[in-house]
């Protein structure tokens, strides 16, 4: 089941939103709840608060930056279906914009010199 985007936003990505989008990008077709959380944990090396991930997913989907579809029920998940996430073009555009903002901010500065 894929829900139509309720609204799209031009507002810049929040920190956790950006990370979740990047995790989905890295995971490709494997992107679903637990792998996303694990990917985030692997890179931040810190425990992740589950509600913040789900809220980010909720927000990103509402903004039309990603889409999701339901998979098959799995025994390992207590008979619950897995939800797969994938980036919408708007999501890729938002990531690109965030990346460029950061890169341009970093250009010409170094932490060592200041």
């Amino acid at each position: 089941m894929s829900r139509p985007p309720s609204r799209t936003s031009k507002a810049p990505l929040g920190d956790i939103e950006q990370r979740v989008l990047l995790a989905i990008l890295r995971l490709g077709s494997d992107a679903s709840g637990v792998p996303i959380v694990r990917e985030l944990q692997r890179h931040t090396r810190r425990p992740i608060l589950l509600p913040s991930v789900y809220l980010a997913l909720r927000r990103l989907e509402a903004k039309g930056l990603l889409r999701s579809r339901l998979g098959e029920p799995e025994a390992r998940r207590g008979g619950r279906a897995r939800r797969h996430f994938a980036l919408e073009p708007a999501g890729k555009a938002a990531l690109r914009e965030a990346q460029q903002t950061l890169l341009s901010l970093w250009r010409g500065v170094s932490l060592d010199e200041s």
Binding site: R3, S6, G33, V34, L50, P51, Y54, A62, G78, R83
Partner: protein, 882 residues
Amino acid sequence: MSPEPRQPPAAALWLLDRLLPVAERDLVIGDVTEMLADRVEAGRGFNRAWCWVQTAALLLGLTASRVPIDAPQRSFVMRLSGRVSMTLKQSVRRLRYEWRYALGVVIILGVGIGPATTMLSIVQRVLLQPLAYQDPDRLGIVRINLGQIQNHPGLSPGEVIDLRRTQGLFAGVEAENRRYEVTLKTDDALVPLSAVSITTGMLPMLGVVPVLGRPFTEGDVKDRPDAVLMDYGTWRSRFGGDAGVVGRRIVLDGNPVEVVGILPAGFRLTTGRAVPEPIDVYTPMRVTLFRNFWAFPTLVRLAPGETFDRVNAALPGLAASLVKAYPDAYSGARLQFLISPLKDDMVKTTRPALDAAIVGVLLLLVIAMANATALVIARLRTRERDFAIRLAVGAGRGSLVADVFMESALLSGCGAILGAALGALGLEAARRLVPHTVPRWDDITLGAGVVAYAATLALVGLFTCGLLPLWKASRHVPWDSLQSGSTRSGQADSALSRLLLAGAQIALTVVLAFGAIQLVRSATRLSEVDLGFDPNVLTFRTSIDFQRFKTPAESTALFERIRDRLRALPGVEAVGGVSHLPLSGSVLTDAWTTDLSKQPGWDLSTANYYSTVPGYFGSMKIPLRQGRDFSDVEDRTAQHVVIVDESLARAAFPGVADVTGRILRLGWGLPDSRIVGVVGHVRGIEIAREVRPQIYVPMGLFTQNPNFTVRASGDPARLIGPIQAAVKELNTGRAVAGFAMLTDNVAAATSTLRSITGLVSILAASAALLSAMGLYVVIAYLLHSRRRATAIRSALGATPSQLVRLHMRTSLRVLLVALPIGIGLAVAGAPLFASLVFGVATRDPASLTAAVVIALVASLAGTYLPVRRAAAIDPVLALRSE
């Protein structure tokens, strides 16, 4: 430990399934289940706890968030919480606008909840909290009835052994001896300590284990004390909590004794007294088959499966066989053993006062609740038009009910906070004011209980002030309130429910006022009782070193030397000494007779026996009715002389004017003695009544450790130093202990009645004030709703006094019903507290009349003020405002 779960706990799953938005359920629950499986496979622990933490975080994070998900999928919790928060906001706004009303209700509830919270906390500590022993409900204390002696808490050692020999009744029978004083010699001082001997099985039976060292063993029992267990507080204060004390020898009364252990902090031995005396050291003792000295308080632990009723039913047989087997000891008197639960025995003297206090605070609580409810209802009437408009434009009835309920919840919540604060203050005050005759008074501390009680009472408040208005709000739709004011304002509003509430308050006020008046009169009567002595006396104790003062003559001479030395101190008027001070709680009792052919036995009349140092009667201002005091020579040479009180003289020699020279046969193995004087009776056991006549013998005849009585002019405290110096010089090696004024004993004996009187008086005054306020609110509201009718009457020529009479009638009708009910309740409840009342009849008509007058005055004051204002109405203004 249970195996690690593969599935999240069922309750967590249920919660998540119920509360999460539909769109996210499979995602979230599936992920949590999958992660749990990963954790279990990775061999990680605390998985159940992890599940619950995640569940809580997810519920908090995902249900309360405002991040949009599609509207139809908003969870029930979200919709409910949104509605609750909106109702809450509206209620807060309304109450803030009508802050005087809100403050009034909160204060009334707080005034009701506060004292109730305090008293419930006290009752919980004093009456309900189990004793700090193992399985304390199975512990009992043995009291005996023997001839004229009733309810005596001490057994003779032989009887302790008899009880131990019974089959299957007891798992333990252990005794203590009476408290005595020892002197601890330290490097630089003599320290008075209190000691008590206990059988070696006592502490194991109570389940008390020393925190350091070991308990007593049979091997510790020697002829002279050789081993002691030390009180925790004494260990901390006297030895700085030094663990090295255990196993070391300390010098007590000149003998080195080993400290074998330290008892747990707070340990107290409860044996027959409401408040156990503080004990510094415990020594081991063995009971022997001795059978003529009933001075061993005895505790029992019931055998498994036995009950107190069954044990008590089994003991008369034992008692009868003992009386038959030992005719000398019991002299054919009736013997009865009574075993009662230890805690019941401890609290039985305080229970009537606490019961009265609880009834008092609960009555006040009911009055406050009724009062607050009446206020809430009265205000509800002013909101009728608002409700009708909301219903008319389509509001659900549920939303109105929720509205009323939320306001009540807010008000009673604030009332609970105020009540808990007042309760905590009250408890702090109580800690200082509670008489030290109340069991476990030092346990009364501020705890979570205060908050729990306040919260519980607030819940009760919520239901009373919430439900009745709720019912009213949901019952009828006040459509008529939509009509213009002028068409409805002529109608009479019966306001029945509020009048009922006001009436209930008046009735309960009568009850409380009656109780307060009875107690005040009792306390006054008690303070007017002639004690038979003047308690303005400084007292202290010192023990005899029997190794130095081997004979009675030697110790008697020592007492006289101390007395004479003290007499020489500046400001001292008179000095004497006595074995047992009046109202100190300890006394020796035995039989006496004038029939010289009989042996004194328990079938004869009994008296209290005192040994005196000559000069005692003068120092206590005990009046001499006939004859004279003992002379020093009589004392030192142990002459067979005796002084009796007037009640014994009357009973022994009825109709004889002068009993001096007559011979009396005494108990305690004392010789037949000649009466040399008759003194006034002293209220030595209870202030309220003469318990037993009194017999005084010279110290030389019956040597015991004396309490010295010093009457002095000026501040007695300045004498303490000189007295210590004088006694130390004469009685070397023994400390001086227990400096106190005898007025303290008198104050302690009346303290329970005085504090309960104070409390109930305050409660009654609050009740009268609250019920006056309650009536004021109801009447004022009634008159407001009738102001049009009043204005028309006034315009037609009714005088203000006619109007006042007219409106007073409503109040009088309420009083006509409420006062008889109040009188009925007071009369019916009076016998419950008969034991507190002294010198006035249980149902004293004068007190009842005064109580009615108080309630009457309060209600008339509550009525007259609004009525007068209504009668002074300007008809033109009143009619124009419609």
